[in-house]
Amino acid sequence: MIKTVISTELPVDEHLLIRKNSISGGSGKKRICLVTGTHGDELEGQYVCYRIAQILQSNLADLDGTVDIYPALNPLGIDSITRGIPNFDLDMNRIFPGDPMGSMAENTAHSIIEELRGADLVIDIHSSNIFLYEVPQVRINQLNADSLVPLASMLNLDFLWVHEAATVLEATLAYSLNSLDTPTLVVEMGVGMRITQSYGEQLVSGILNLMRHMGVWKGAVPELEERHTILSTTGTVDFINASASGVFIPLIEHSNHAEAGQVIGRIVDPLHGTVLQDVKLERPGFVFTIRAYPVVYEGSLLARVFREDNA
């Protein structure tokens, strides 16, 4: 059933609408929420919403509980290829839990929290930005690692990144919901403005798998190759930033295990026809983030590499 959960009047004959598809089956009381589209340039979640809605609606007998699907928390951003909310300075994922007395954006953020709190699980799907390509991964604040890592492991993704707490991240949707005791997992995968179908299918099967463990899904879970999810707490994450300004040419496929000394990309100068930097790994590791947008400045993030402690 399609429901409009937030409707805000715009100046000229239009409303900003946030809608959900609420799909229920059986007598189960559990509620799982699938949300995406906070950042208007991230689209990978659209495919996942479409597939989950399609699978559940055609197999209602296998569903025991409610799955609420919210494809667009920032519909104006998605429609205008704008990462944030058009005409608003702050990142929408930096204003939660919002404020009913605040601006339109803060008010919307507050309503979203009220809508989602109390769910048995929220999955917030992001797809990086236009600059970086991410392997399918879950990101968890270390404060919630004990309760969320077991859930996240069932999503069948490649990497599970338990990151440090930072004050500025206290204003994300996931942080706000987790601190209201609504377990929330953040998925990052793919790249902005594109859909990577294979990643989408991987996450769809992971979500069904997790639903089955929670007793909400009795149907089939599409079989995917058995994969070993790497847990970040068994090693270290290194960031590799550009030391020259130029054009980045990647020399590996993403999701790659790279050797020590391997050149994973090159920054070149198109005007002079020269190489400005060979981007090398000092130690072997798993490249889970790689630069997608070619133009780089000094400092632009080129890759994130996970390295096991004993490697």
């Binding site: 805000t8 000229v12 990462r83 601006s103 960031f239 930033n241 300004s245 000094e298 993030l301």
Partner: protein, 308 residues
């Protein structure tokens, strides 16, 4: 005056990115002043340019006090200003959300780190800043409530109001907040406009900064005493939000005294001109902030009123 190149970053396709500083006097690091951090902070940059010019005159007359050093950085983001963008053009990140910066991090973190290194250790730090909401407001000094702030100092600018803000998570990465944490007394001077130059309020702001410097013996300069600055907490301001969307027809301006129920604006239907909503003052007071866009959405912030 010494003009110094404080930071250079090569660009793949444009000229070099440069941050320039103007240093006056020598001795203890007394005050650092930062102008435009966003590409539309024209007023903020203009005020700095006028300060550079005035300080040059003072220096020629020997009126920079001995033992004091002043640093003025009119712009941290000329690249955005030159192409009419607000944020860092490449990735749309806001330099004022990157402090204290990280010299091995992303480009705008590096810019923030380079700037922060240059402006650390000063006794006073002044940022010419714009408000996070688009609009006009009464010029004021803003301080973060971090526990290190000294409100009496802020009153030394002699602007009408001193606004104390309790930081929210997104404030913890701003220059003002980090300056304060690193033991510089930091002030944001909000001169009421962004995107345009208002010479009258620029003159007032330049006077306010000169007044402050003169009060602390950094320059010898005769200034009029200014206002006795009233201290406000941001949470004490009354917010008036739009209950309906449409064309905003505003009927008041910043600093107007208003009475409870007085009509502040009308929201008009953009098709037939009918009045969708009359915006009325919720209490007696003074208009502090007004939304300055022609179109308003439902729930957008229209006014902030200082209750009397």
């Amino acid at each position: 005056m010494k003009r110094e190149l404080l930071f250079v970053l090569p660009s793949p396709f444009r000229d070099e990115f440069r941050i320039q500083g103007f240093r006056f006097g020598s001795g203890q690091k007394s005050i650092a002043i930062v102008g435009a951090m966003r590409g539309d902070e024209l007023q903020q940059q203009f005020i700095c340019s006028q300060l550079v010019s005035t300080l040059q005159d003072l220096e020629e007359k020997g009126d920079i006090a001995a033992g004091h050093e002043i640093l003025v950085i009119p712009s941290v983001n000329p690249f955005a200003m030159n192409i009419g963008k607000r944020f860092w053009a490449m990735d749309n990140t806001d330099i004022n959300r990157m402090f204290p910066g990280y010299s091995l991090g992303e480009t705008t973190q590096r810019i923030a780190a380079a700037l922060f290194e240059q402006i650390q250790g000063y006794r006073f730090g002044v940022q010419m800043s714009s408000y996070y909401l688009p609009g006009d407001y009464i010029p004021h000094v803003r301080m973060m409530h971090t526990g290190y702030e000294d409100i009496e100092l802020a009153q030394g600018f002699g602007l009408q109001y001193t606004l104390l803000r309790t930081p929210r998570p997104f404030d913890t990465t701003t220059l003002n907040y980090n300056w304060q944490i690193w033991e510089t007394q930091a002030f944001s001077v909000c001169s009421g406009h962004t995107g345009v130059i208002d010479t009258e309020s620029a003159v007032d702001t330049v006077s306010a900064v000169l007044r402050f410097m003169s009060l602390h013996g950094i320059i010898h300069c005769r200034t009029h005493p200014g206002y006795f600055s009233e201290v406000l907490r941001e949470e004490d301001l009354i917010t008036v939000k739009a209950r309906r969307a449409g064309i905003l027809y505003c009927m008041c301006k910043p600093d107007d005294s208003v009475r409870r129920d007085q009509i502040l604006a009308r929201v008009l239907d953009p098709y037939d001109g009918s009045v969708r909503w009359e915006v009325r003052a919720p209490a007696d007071g003074t208009v502090f902030f007004i939304h300055d866009k022609t179109l308003v959405l439902e729930n957008s912030m229209l006014f902030r009123i200082i209750p009397s």
